[in-house]
């Protein structure tokens, strides 16, 4: 049985200038210990997807359809108190910007302890747990008594990760965890996430715009565009058998060390989701677009073992 099952999830934002469908019919399953990378440009809906899994889509957004099954239970149908208990303990999130996800007005230890206490831990035990997990992410004990602004970006992110794993969640959602950090620190943080995956057996959803990172670290890759899934496959399968034009375009846009081929950028702009194009949402930028692409939205088709594409080219 899957750890996490997402079925036909739709999230819309009801703004003054129109209704935006940020997540359109996303479905996927996540096994235990699997790392799924959700890859897309900004506006692809990947961050909204992450928040939706915790039922934390901010106003004016609303989850209009779909199910998020964690161990068989639909997260979206829980009462506020029930879901509060799940957040941080069975489903946790690591955010992109380490500077704003730790409260600058309080010491690390106070925030961490409070988090533990809110989930029912005993005061007498909480401090040692804080020490244990800070150590697990490679931070010295004295960090505890500091304020966030006294730490570096990388250190702050480690603290966030420590809190995200402390209650041994089944699923950790990492929303662009390394984007705000420099490359060296990036590797350290990703190594840490790998380590956690291995040691604690957590499933990880890695949200990123960096296809290279996804291909390097994840087990499965899901490519999103304009709120829709374009392609979904196991990493090796995707590398060998890339099907969707968008995925190919993303891949070709990656800079390469070994060859002389220059990265090829994708012309055009992401769609205005207030008035999205008819048919396939990618067709305006697709070099293979046909008449059918302009009129009809493609369905997800299985083109290989566990490999799905939403594209008319592969009927």
């Amino acid at each position: 049985m899957s750890t996490l099952e997402v079925k036909d999830l739709w999230v819309k934002y009801y703004t003054f200038s129109g209704i935006v469908s940020a997540v359109s019919g996303v479905s996927f399953n996540l096994r235990k210990g699997e790392m799924l990378a959700v890859v897309g440009e900004s506006g692809s809906g990947k961050s909204t997807l992450g928040l939706a899994l915790l039922n934390m889509v901010p106003k004016p957004g609303k989850i209009v359809k779909g199910e998020v099954l964690l161990g068989g239970v639909n997260v979206l149908k829980l009462t506020p108190e029930e879901i509060r208990k799940i957040r941080g303990s069975r489903l946790s999130m690591v955010f992109q910007d380490p500077f704003t996800t730790l409260d600058p007005l309080r010491k690390i230890v106070d925030q961490f302890e409070e988090f533990l206490l809110e989930h029912g831990f005993d005061k007498s035990k909480s401090r040692s747990i804080v020490k244990e997990y800070l150590e697990a992410v490679g931070l010295p004990e004295r960090i505890m008594y500091s304020y966030p602004h006294q730490l570096s970006g990388g250190q702050k992110q480690r603290v966030s990760i420590a809190m995200a794993i402390a209650l041994n969640p089944e699923v950790i959602i990492a929303d662009e965890p390394t984007t705000a950090l420099d490359v060296v620190v990036q590797k350290q943080i990703m190594d840490l996430i790998d380590y956690i995956k291995g040691k604690y057996g957590s499933s990880i959803i890695l949200i990123t715009h960096d296809l290279a990172l996804a291909l390097e670290r994840a087990d499965t890759v899901m490519v999103m565009y304009g709120g829709y899934i374009m392609e979904y496959a196991d990493k090796k399968e995707l590398l060998n058998n890339m099907k969707h034009p968008y995925t190919k375009a993303l891949f070709e846009a990656l800079p390469r060390i070994t060859t002389r081929i220059l990265p090829k950028s994708l012309p055009g702009y992401p769609p205005d989701l207030r008035s999205p194009p008819q048919g396939c949402i990618f067709h305006p930028r697709c070099e293979y677009a046909t008449e059918e692409c302009r009129l009809k939205r493609p369905e997800m088709i299985e083109v290989g073992k566990g490999h799905f594409v939403a594209c008319h080219l592969y009927r």
């Binding site: 901010p58 208990k85 957040r87 941080g88 303990s89 704003t100 996800t101 809110e118």
Partner: protein
Amino acid sequence: MGLARYIAIRALAIIPTVLILYTLVFIVLRVLPGNPVLAAIGTKNIPEEQLKELMKELGLDKPLYQQYFEYLYNFIRGDMGQSMIIRGRSIAGDIADKLPATIELSVWSIIFSLLIGIGLGYLGARAHSRVVKTAVRLTGSILFVIFIPALGLSLQLIFSKYLGLLPIGGRLSSVGLLKPITGLYTIDALIELKPLVFIDALQHLLLPAFTLGLVISGPYIRLTMNNIEEILESKIIEAYRARGVREEKIFRHAFRHVLIPITTYTGLQFSLLMGGAVLTETTYNWPGIGTYLVDKVMYRDYTAIQAVVIIFAVIVGLTSLIVDILYALIDPRVRY
């Protein structure tokens, strides 16, 4: 760096500020044209001899720079000179008598203003209807521009004259005697365990503090409302929620963040508070240094006016120090 060192540095910083303000006052009151003694006495028909005598007595015949330093020196030692109008009357003594009244009024006014301002701001932030929000914001803007004596007199009319609920002025009726320890009658009454006097003092404080507090609360309303809205949508709060922290706790943390701009603003608006206090005291016959100033202005008692204005400058310096300290207590980023 630590809190202690921060406080020490800020405390030292007041000294130049107050000195500059003192210089400003001195320039304004002494350097500007007009002979203060003549203005005080009100007539130009005074024999040359007597005029010279008076000026000598008040120390006004010495060269300006000498007056500057001597006055400053004396002032620090607590000697603020004598009234020009009431001969032999120590200004420092008068001010010492009346200062606690002004402090009491100011403190209670701030309490009222924070209650009203933060309360309404909070309600406005939690309201869903745009109409309510606009109404709250507008209320904030309008409250701030109410002319204090107008409001005060209207309240006196309603509550004292027609409803007879509250006294019209002064600090105490003759309900009981009070040995002034701090000079703040509400606190003194509590210390001396005289509940009746406490209530009496409170009754007298109610209208003036409410008047001043209401007007001062205006900007707090908008400030609180905007900041609560902003913070509740901020990433910091999102992170708390994603960790499963309860809403009540989240609110408490959010509030701490809101306190920062509120504290900053409180520091800035002390100047306005003092101007408002002068008007409030005059309106309610509250025997503080505000009424003292106005009385002295009416009688052109220059030496007294100078002393009071300097006292106000000192108060500005001290209150900005207190606010700085409070700010440092709330926001650790400042002290490290």
